[in-house]
């Protein structure tokens, strides 16, 4: 689904983002030339399997990639037109947690075990706003209440290990949203949770997003969540965006064989499949991406060109692009 071009620049505009990790086995290009945009208030999915680079992408947006990883020259991340990669240390800190916030996958490890949760929220507030300790604490309690934690005042002085998994994830949300960011990067926010809790958290996130009017980049491997919660989606494979489309479009007519494969590979609750269509082979390691199209060794349709030339993102329909030569040569699709 692609509406008319927005009058203002998109909220987030990532261009040619490349992140390298240098290790003893050579340089791993974990994220390779990623382009993506998020409009204000929009929920965008970033989907892919482990090791595809989706988490690194999120970290790179806030320049949180740590050595031995580094963001390559030529990448750009613009937030409301401002290039985050060009900011000084102090300015980027002013963005983190304030304009753009991050929610992590493992709420237990993302919360400092030795600090009270109320404190951890309050310090996020105090990092960006000149408020007193007392005010910050009061606002922390308010945030905890907002994310549905009962008896928030008392819970504020609890430690992470004293809370259940769902509660911890709520705390993380409260921490991320404490400064009312314009954009939330939610990295697998519910993967560690049971389905019933996952549903609660996603409902909560929906509600908060509407209330705060923020945009969400929802990073996940779960196609179900993507289908239910996002308007647009990017599919990542081996460090690259391989497909980009409106969500309905993607599920209705996937253009990239990898996307297709994923959809065919998952067992469905709503229908009984006799046999799953598995994608053969393994995700290659980041140090040894294949030549040409990175999916070609696992692709049922691949032909010689796929092994030598890397396809660019090709437009399938307006707003729907796929990194596959099949877009140009659909006749090569095998039945």
């Amino acid at each position: 689904m692609s509406g008319p071009a927005p009058a203002r620049p998109p909220l987030l505009e990532v261009h040619d983002l490349t992140v390298n990790f240098s290790g003893s086995d050579g340089v791993a290009r974990a994220v390779d030339g990623v382009d993506l945009t998020v409009e204000e208030g929009e929920t965008v999915g970033l989907v892919g399997e482990s090791g595809c680079g989706k988490s690194v992408t999120a970290l790179a947006i806030l320049r949180l990639v740590e050595p031995p990883g580094h963001i390559a020259h030529g990448s750009s991340v613009r937030l409301g037109g401002r290039d985050l990669l060009a900011l000084g240390a102090k300015e980027i800190r002013a963005v983190r947690g304030n304009h753009v916030a991050l929610v992590f996958q493992e709420p237990l490890s993302a919360l400092n075990p030795v600090l009270r949760i109320g404190n951890q929220i309050a310090e996020a507030i105090r990092a960006h706003e000149a408020v007193t300790r007392g005010t910050a604490r009061w606002r922390a309690v308010e945030m905890l209440t907002a994310v549905g934690i009962p008896d928030a005042k008392r819970r504020a002085s609890a430690y992470a290990h004293q809370l259940s998994g769902g509660m911890r994830q709520r705390v993380l949300l409260a921490m991320a949203l404490a400064c009312r960011p314009q954009l939330l990067l939610a990295d697998e926010p519910t993967t560690a949770l049971d389905v019933t809790i996952q549903a609660e958290i996603l409902e909560l996130l929906d509600g908060l997003q509407r209330k705060l009017g923020m945009a969400v980049l929802l990073i996940t491997h779960n196609l179900g969540i993507v289908a239910e919660r996002t308007r647009r989606v990017y599919v990542m494979y081996a460090g690259q965006i391989v497909e980009e489309a409106a969500t309905e479009q993607l599920f209705a007519a996937p253009a990239h064989p990898y996307t297709e494969g994923l959809l065919a590979a998952i067992p469905r609750l709503d229908e009984r499949r006799d046999r799953l269509q598995a994608i053969p082979g393994q995700v290659p390691p980041a140090t040894a991406w294949p030549e040409g199209c990175r999916f070609h060794p696992r692709c049922p349709h691949a032909w010689a060109k796929c092994g030598t030339e890397m396809p660019p993102l090709l437009e399938v329909t307006p707003g729907h692009r796929a990194r596959c030569w099949l877009v140009k040569e659909p006749e090569r699709r095998k039945k």
């Binding site: 779960n222 179900g224 289908a227 590979a265 994608i279």
Partner: protein
């Protein structure tokens, strides 16, 4: 229920004591499995679903006597597993195996894949020398690992391949029954399908029985014609998958099913959202274990005080709920 069950579990209870607090000054009893009965027939797969902490993993391990039971009984092919002496137990273990969730942790990183697979062959003296090598090679090929894998070590394989190796290790002793404890939940979507297909193929080829434990309802539906739903150490619903998935009778099952996101943007479903977290198995609530979270409009006093037993509401479809009706 199917005739002549291979595995019969009756009123199985497994409690753990563990120490908590600084220096373990306090004891806690975790009521992991709290009176479970179920059967698995030969060549059949029974799916067991439940959320983390519900006791499904403990149940699987207790059946294999990897964990001591507190009471109740497990019969395998008519023999009481807990009555066996150690030698007999070892013989019995040839016939029942287990596959774990985490392929990293279930392979000894210091043993090559070949030696890991060979371990069972050697323990039960099924073959020796070159014959054993041949068997290992064949098993590895059967689970789809490339030639030459035997000499390699777990860290040289991907998660999916490691899980294949685990399957090969379990198959090495030619078991009849395998407890599959979340065998695919640590795997990527694309690989998950490979392993599920492999398990189904093996079952067809070797006539295996599975107890398939998972938190993923979609996966269970895919592999198991019969499903048991576990909550806080008890089975709350049990029956043919089609029945359970299309017409869940227990409020918990209903909530579970509606919570699972469906990868289809066009389906919009009404969702039963549960309040709060599952209670701790250290201190399970009285009455119906689910009652504190239950959203059933008819919730009443007996839910709080009387524990519902499994009732058969449709052929083969049992549910432990006072309020459920067909």
């Amino acid at each position: 229920m199917t005739a002549t069950p291979l595995v019969e579990v009756r009123d199985l209870v497994t409690h753990f004591t563990h120490r908590v607090g600084l220096f373990g000054t306090r004891r806690e009893v975790v009521q992991a499995v709290n009176g479970v009965s179920l059967d698995v027939a030969a060549r059949e797969t029974l799916g067991l679903v439940g959320e983390s902490g519900c006791g499904k993993t403990t149940l699987g391990r207790t059946i294999l006597r990897l964990v001591a039971r507190t009471s109740g009984e497990v019969r395998f092919d008519g023999q009481d597993v807990f009555a066996l002496d150690l030698a007999a137990l070892r013989r019995m273990r040839r016939r029942m195996q287990i596959i774990f969730q985490d392929p990293d942790g279930s392979l000894n990183p210091r043993l090559s894949i070949g030696r890991a697979v060979r371990e069972g062959i050697e323990v039960h003296r099924l073959a020796r020398g070159a014959e054993a090598d041949g068997r290992v090679e064949a098993l590895l090929a059967e689970v789809g690992l490339p030639a030459g894998s035997a000499a390699r070590y777990p860290h040289e394989f991907s998660g999916g391949q490691r899980q294949r190796a685990c399957i090969a290790r379990a198959l090495a002793v030619e078991p009849e029954f395998i407890v599959c404890d979340e065998p695919v939940s640590a795997l990527d979507v694309s690989v998950q399908a490979q392993v599920l297909n492999l398990l189904l193929d093996l079952q067809a080829r070797r006539g295996l029985s599975y107890l398939f434990i998972s938190h993923d309802l979609a996966v269970v539906r895919h592999v198991a014609p019969r499903v048991a739903v576990m909550y806080l150490g008890r089975i709350v619903e049990h029956g043919p998958s089609d029945g359970i998935y299309q017409r869940p009778l227990h409020p918990y099952t209903q909530a579970l099913l509606t919570a699972v996101p469906v990868p289809d943007p066009k389906t919009k479903r009404a969702r039963v959202v549960l309040a709060g977290d599952p209670p701790s198995p250290v201190n399970p609530p009285g009455g119906c274990p689910f009652h504190p979270r239950c959203q059933h409009p008819g919730k009443n006093e007996s839910c709080r005080t009387v524990r519902p037993e499994l009732r058969e509401l449709a052929p083969g479809h049992q549910v432990a709920c006072h309020l459920a009706d067909r």
